[in-house]
């Protein structure tokens, strides 16, 4: 198993390229006639994880579980409410604007919908050069050379450089977004559902491109997705998120062969599989994800859990424990075993 998992619990500053420690991001809810703060949406509520250099960590969960907020908070596009973010050994959780500008050369993000993340008024060449202009001191020639190099690397042609984003298909637009993120030679890329808006045959091409680029540039990925089969294909390790907290962290192989947390089990069995003959042992969760504004007491999953033990699930919040070496799971089923 990889070191990133071993160090997930009790993260130290020098673990991996990226680590978060008890990271929290709350969004205030305002209401009443005085528009006072009446509560918090606890989008990310105490997440500790670490990614080793050159690896891909998959972050999986349903919509509204906080996975995108976590990705954006790591990028410091949101300011964390509490907790720490360590990038390359440095605590960046309250780094100032000019410091972040330097750090962002090494961390970039790819968004879900390329049509809305690319400025429609800019040409492809301008789009790819923009991060280099703002984040590096490269000369015009260096920037142009890098652009030409990137455009072929992501599978586009030189003739495409002067075109606007709307002239491209969704898959090609996502290639432009990837080239843009890669332009400044980052170490870490946060990929926030990069293939969700694409057709399956295009998705396959983009996934192949991402793994090729990872090999070429020794990139580290935080890969956010709701699609378990995509996660399984591309990730080394997987973190399962539910209502702002991590439910389980393990290597891809272990988590798919032997999921421990009841939520992970339910998530896996919900995936429709064309090759499966019968669906007799499917676990069907009841109801919807509860509101993160007012999460259930105790274990957040107890309202839908198929392996509910008893009162302890409603009163005590389960701690992250290690049911078997190198795997972490927050569930009362395993709290006695350590």
């Amino acid at each position: 198993m990889s070191e990133s998992i071993q160090s997930t619990y009790g993260v130290a500053q020098d673990d991996g390229l990226l680590a978060t420690k008890d990271l929290k991001k709350y969004f205030p809810v305002k209401g009443g006639i005085l528009n006072r703060k009446v509560g918090d949406v606890k989008a990310v509520d105490g997440v500790s994880l670490a990614i080793e250099e050159g690896k891909t960590l998959g972050l999986v969960g349903e919509s509204g579980c906080g996975k995108s907020t976590l990705g954006k908070t790591i990028m410091r596009l949101h300011d964390p409410t509490d907790g720490n973010i360590y990038f390359d050994g440095e605590d960046i959780s309250d780094a100032g604007k000019s410091r972040m500008r330097k750090i962002r050369r090494n961390m970039q993000i790819i968004f879900q919908d390329p049509a809305s993340s690319l400025n429609p008024r800019m040409s492809v060449a301008e789009l790819i050069q923009e991060p280099m202009k703002t984040l590096t001191d490269w000369s015009k020639e260096e920037r142009r050379d890098r652009t030409l190099e990137l455009i072929s690397e992501v599978g586009l042609q030189e003739g495409h450089l002067q075109r606007a984003p709307h002239e491209f298909s969704g898959g090609q637009q996502q290639r432009v977004a990837i080239a843009r993120a890669l332009s400044v030679n980052p170490k870490l890329i946060v990929a926030d559902e990069p293939t969700s808006a694409l057709d399956v045959s295009v998705q396959a091409k983009i996934l192949n491109l991402l793994s090729d680029l990872q090999d070429t540039y020794d990139l580290t990925f935080l890969f956010i997705s709701h699609d378990l089969s995509v996660i399984k294909h591309i990730c080394d390790d997987v973190a399962v998120m539910y209502l702002g907290k991590l439910a389980e962290v393990a290597s891809t192989e272990e988590i798919f062969d032997d999921p421990k947390h009841p939520y992970t089990k339910a998530l896996m069995s919900a995936v429709p599989d064309a090759s499966a003959e019968s669906m007799t042992d499917r676990i069907l969760l009841e109801g919807d994800v509860p509101s993160p504004e007012n999460p259930p007491s105790g274990c957040r999953f107890h309202t839908r859990c198929q392996e509910y033990i008893g009162e302890i699930c409603e009163t005590d919040e389960p701690q992250f424990t290690e049911p078997s070496a190198g795997r972490y799971c927050s569930c009362h089923h395993y709290s006695g075993s350590t």
Binding site: E62, S63, S169, D199, V200, S201, Q203, A204, K205, L207, N208, S211, H226, L228, S229, V230, K232, H233, F256, A266, L267, M268, S269, A270, V271, P272, D273, A274, S275, A276, M279, R282, L284, L285, E286, D288, V289
Partner: protein, 355 residues
């Protein structure tokens, strides 16, 4: 044919736009039997939604123009009847579930109003009876506390609940044919699993026929008896669900299922389909998949348009590919599951294959 509830024959639909004419559907043929679930699969832009919108008579014209073909529902050609007659059938005997529940529900009307509407419009039911029927239907769709929900507005519900309401609306008149256009695409996997279970049990309970559209092979395999694969405005293959998975005949069907990452197997690289879907402004003359096809045979593929043909008389498996126009080569050039390969070879040696 009278044993089919819906027969679509050689349907051609064009869209007239400023840039030219888009040939969105180019001779689509399929049929849906009674109590059968037909899955329609294809990538975006292949014409799945245009097909069902034509069946429902919901295509806006202009720009849409149904150039040719027939859509027969229980022996009536839906394209030749008047709007009044169509309105009697649509919403009563044929109903539809759309992809995005938020946009298919009216935000300013209560759930009750919207669920009762088809009943009040199509039957002589009293308002009180319609309300009771609406509550019953919401409950069969797995919504607890339906009585209270009747007076709520769509924005007060979650995505999964809204989609249940949309399904209840479609089923409240007990239609004979339900058309579901990507009903779970906007939902999370765990909610998707709930909705799929619901649709399956309701289909069994009411014994209705269903046309289920999806781009997701996994979802479609859960519910369908038969699957039609669409590519660039054509049906390229149609067969029973099992045959599509164990013995895909069209190269596109095979490549499509290979390019989806699977939970069961691990590969280093996903197989991809080279090239892009051809433009429908000016589609290629021959097979539309020719330029991307790994089994390309030669000039025939570029020049001659393969028609959708049965592999064997009375067999349900149809394919539009030149690989199978020659009887002697009627088995697919790739590995198929044991037993099925034999079946295809047998078919190939029985002479007189095609209608």
């Amino acid at each position: 044919m009278t044993d089919n509830i819906l027969t679509v024959e050689d349907l051609k639909v064009d869209f007239h736009t400023e840039e030219g004419t888009v040939h969105a559907l180019d001779g689509i043929s399929f049929e849906v039997g009674y109590d059968e679930v037909l899955g329609v699969i294809g990538e975006s832009g292949c014409g799945k939604s245009v097909t069902v919108l034509s069946v429902m008579g919901l295509l806006q014209s202009p720009p849409a123009d149904i150039v040719d073909g027939t859509i027969e529902y229980k022996g009536t050609d839906l394209l030749s009847i008047s709007d009044t007659e169509l309105n009697e059938i649509r919403g009563d005997q044929i109903s539809m579930v759309y992809q995005d529940p938020m946009t298919s529900l009216n935000p300013v009307l209560t759930i009750g109003h919207q669920v009762m509407e088809p009943l009040l419009r199509h039957t002589n039911m009293s308002k009180a009876a319609a309300r009771q029927k609406g509550i019953d239907m919401l409950e069969s769709c797995g919504l607890a506390d339906a009585d209270r929900l009747m007076d709520e507005y769509p924005h007060e519900l979650s995505g999964g609940m809204r989609q249940r309401v949309v399904i209840a609306m479609a089923l409240v008149t007990e239609p004979d044919l339900l058309i579901a256009d990507e009903p779970t695409t906007a939902l999370d996997v765990t909610i998707q699993a709930q909705i799929m279970e619901l649709l399956k049990s309701l289909q069994e309970e009411f014994g209705m026929s269903v046309v289920f559209i999806s781009h997701d092979l996994g979802v479609i395999s859960e519910i369908s008896d038969r699957i039609a694969v669409m590519y660039a405005g054509r049906v390229v293959e149609s067969a029973t669900m099992r045959n599509i998975f164990t013995n895909p005949l069209h190269p596109y069907t095979r490549k499509l299922s290979e390019s989806i990452p699977s939970l069961d197997s691990t590969v280093d690289r996903l197989p991809t389909i080279e090239g892009q879907v051809p433009s429908l402004y000016n589609p290629p003359t021959g097979c539309r998949f020719a330029s991307r096809c790994p089994e390309h045979l030669g000039e025939e593929c570029e020049m001659v348009d393969p028609r959708l043909k049965r592999i064997e008389e009375n067999a349900a498996h149809k394919v539009a590919c030149h690989l199978y126009t020659d009887v002697s080569e009627a088995s697919p050039p790739w590995d198929v599951e044991e037993g099925d390969a034999q079946a295809v070879t047998n078919k190939a040696t029985q002479g007189d294959k095609y209608e």
